[in-house]
């Protein structure tokens, strides 16, 4: 019989029975939904009480274009937003910076000043819609802009629900939008968490991402292990500031992927939830049950999709949604079938949204909590996954802990090695991809012409730059300069940088100016190039 392995590496048996779950202690390892250790889910009634939030990742061109796509999705029943920013914004470069040439408004919307954020959220009440901001290196500044827009709209601070990603460690490992060296980058992460915990109690000031590390090539168990290590690193940062764990831990959230083998994904989340609960309660002494809860967005994972016969990706998306539902996602976002080619079309976005709605409303996956609990296979897999995750966490500790492993590049090298192994398995066919390495159709190569490609408009950059110049001309320049000087001074000192950043944002300082004010003090990250 052909050997089959989980993406995590361990073998899968053809049949599971009671002997495979003999070590599982119901009270200790599984328990009831909504109760420690939350293996079965963080809420008692899960989707019977409230379906998962649907949050497609959107953003392109100017803030105005993005604003109309937001409204399009909300008109079709999407209840929350997930904002994509262009690369210059993510890296703190103004739209007229030489290094931004060709990148303005391309992979997300361009933001230069508070005026752009005002336009992006015009007509969207920020005290009623929850918004994820996919921003990391510049999370402090972009979130400050978001808070400033909410304030201008008259939204009460305790009604504002936003989730800036603010996970810089995974950027160093996998996604690349780092700016400053590791230590000052971590300071900014902590500043945003501390500020939000104090002033915006319903915001989720960090979203720890295993997702991007998995997309960069690591295994399922590594995705969870690295995510838990990163979360622990942020908790330690806050504890080092003398902030009690229960003051901020309830607002820590997660962002993971669920593409791959459905049951393995479910096991990954079940094991991850109980490991996180044990870590927060045991290692960090959290007393508030909300601090123990692994609240997560479960996304697709564009790497699950293939370019051949792109409509098949719609089917893959449906399986991802099913895996996410069976895994107990709080929020879901799916990649779109055209994502391997282009910025998603409105039609592709709508299909992804409809896929989640069909899963929630029609499939029955949401009818009862953790429906796979008690299955010999899924419980055994959950235990195996837990063991594997703990092993991967121990490996990170042997590298000197997650921060050191990232500084030296050892973790990045491990992720690249796994990506290469995965690619070899695709070439050998060990990991099957229908239409790409098995059941390859004659017309597979022709299919790409059927995808509607996003027509990137070079006028976007021109419009954005013109607006930026207008703001620079019309603002009170001395107020902006004063705020930026204040920011540099604070960066040299130890205060929370959110306050001077907010001051600069309100004075319509540009993102590039804010980034530079800190770069002058912190310097820039030097990537440890290892592969």
């Amino acid at each position: 019989m052909k050997e089959i392995r989980a993406h995590a590496g361990f073998p899968i048996k053809p049949v599971y029975g009671p002997e495979d779950v003999a070590d599982v202690d119901f009270e200790r390892d599984i328990g009831r939904p909504g109760e420690y250790p939350f293996t079965r889910g963080i809420h008692t009634h899960m989707y019977r009480a409230r379906p998962w939030t649907m949050r497609q990742y959107v953003g392109f061109g100017t803030p105005k274009e993005t604003n109309s796509r937001f409204k399009y999705l909300m008109a079709h029943g999407q209840d929350a937003l997930n904002v994509a920013f262009d690369l210059p914004t993510q890296l703190g470069l103004d739209s007229d910076d030489r290094r931004a040439e060709g990148e303005v408004g391309r992979v997300g919307m361009a933001i230069d000043t508070l005026a752009d954020m005002e336009e992006a959220f015009a007509g969207i009440p920020l005290d009623r819609v929850s918004v994820s901001l996919t921003i990391n290196g510049m999370a402090a500044a972009i979130t400050a802009m978001y808070y400033a827009v909410a304030e201008k709209q008259g939204a009460a601070a305790d009604r504002v629900v936003t989730t800036p990603q603010n996970d810089i460690l995974k950027e160093f490992i996998a996604r690349g939008t780092w700016i400053y060296p590791v230590e000052p980058s971590l300071r900014l992460v902590a500043d945003l968490i501390e500020f939000s915990a104090k002033h915006y109690p319903r915001s989720n000031p960090v979203s720890v991402c295993g997702y991007h590390i998995r997309e960069a090539g690591c295994t399922t168990a590594q995705e969870m292990a690295y995510g838990l290590e990163i979360a622990a690193a942020y908790v330690e940062l806050m504890l080092a500031r003398g902030i009690p764990v229960d003051d901020f831990a309830p607002r820590i959230s997660f962002n993971f992927t669920a593409w791959g083998k459905i049951f393995e994904e479910v096991a990954k989340f079940r094991a991850g939830r109980r490991l996180y609960a044990r870590m927060l309660r045991g290692r960090f002494g959290a007393k508030n049950p909300k601090s123990w809860m692994f609240r997560t967005l479960i996304g697709g994972g564009g790497s699950a999709f293939v370019v051949q016969e792109p409509e098949n990706n719609i089917v893959r998306g449906a399986y991802i949604a099913l895996a996410g539902a069976l895994s107990g996602a709080q929020t879901m976002a799916l990649p779109t079938y055209d994502e391997a080619y282009t910025i998603p079309s409105a039609k592709a976005q709508l299909i992804a949204l409809r896929t989640m709605q069909i899963c929630a409303e029609e499939s029955g996956a949401a009818d009862t909590v953790d429906p796979l609990a008690g299955s010999y296979y899924v419980e055994a897999l959950t235990s195996a996954m837990e063991t594997q995750i703990l092993e991967e966490m121990a490996r990170v500790e042997r590298m000197g802990g997650i921060v050191e492993a990232v500084k030296g590049g050892a973790l990045q090298a491990e992720v690249a090695r796994q990506a290469y192994l995965f690619e070899q398995k695709l070439v050998s066919g060990e990991i099957p991809k229908v239409g790409a390495n098995c059941h390859v159709g004659d017309k597979a190569a022709e299919a790409d012409r059927e995808v509607e490609l996003y027509a990137f408009d070079p006028q976007v950059a021109a419009a954005q730059v013109a607006k930026l110049e207008r703001i620079r001309r019309d603002r009170d320049n001395s107020a902006a300069a004063r705020a930026l000087r204040h920011l540099s001074d604070e960066a040299r000192s130890t205060g929370n940088l959110m306050y001077p950043i907010l001051e600069a944002v309100r004075a319509y300082a540009t993102l590039g100016e804010i980034a530079r004010a800190m770069k002058d003090v912190f310097g820039e990250h030097k990537e440890p190039v290892r592969f």
Partner: protein
């Protein structure tokens, strides 16, 4: 034979670049990897200094036309046009011909199998 795998522009996705670099190394090719976010000029300088035969550009942000053009112009400006340039990443079909017109020797759009990429690199270098 020596290859520079480079990431021009602001795009931070390096999975493809690193996988190709590792596969080339396994195929006995000497590989230099630029790291993320290099400007076209930095890439040209590194290619000349390292005396490589081929530059492999990896771009997933959509800015491939501009960035490839800048690298090729840079090589010309330094009189190093004997260094071949190949490009991989999220390259829509309509841009393949455009890239070839700019002087890109080979394009590897999404879904190109790894062995095919390695074969082209080794062929380009041996023809030089």
């Amino acid at each position: 034979m020596k290859v520079l795998i480079a990431k021009p522009g602001l795009d931070g996705h390096d999975r493809g670049a690193k996988v190709v670099a590792l596969a080339l190394r396994d195929a006995g090719v000497e590989v230099v990897y630029s790291g993320l976010k290099r400007t076209p000029d930095e890439i040209v300088q590194e290619a000349i200094q390292e005396d490589v035969d081929v530059i492999g550009l990896s771009v997933l942000s959509g800015a491939h036309l501009l960035l490839s053009c800048r690298v090729i112009e840079g090589l010309r400006a330094y009189g190093a046009e004997e260094i071949k340039v190949v490009v991989g990443g999220i390259i829509p079909p309509r841009d393949v011909a455009e890239l070839r017109k700019l002087g890109v020797a080979h394009v590897f759009p999404m879904g190109t199998p790894l062995p095919e990429i390695i074969k082209v690199f080794t062929k380009e270098a041996s023809e030089r």
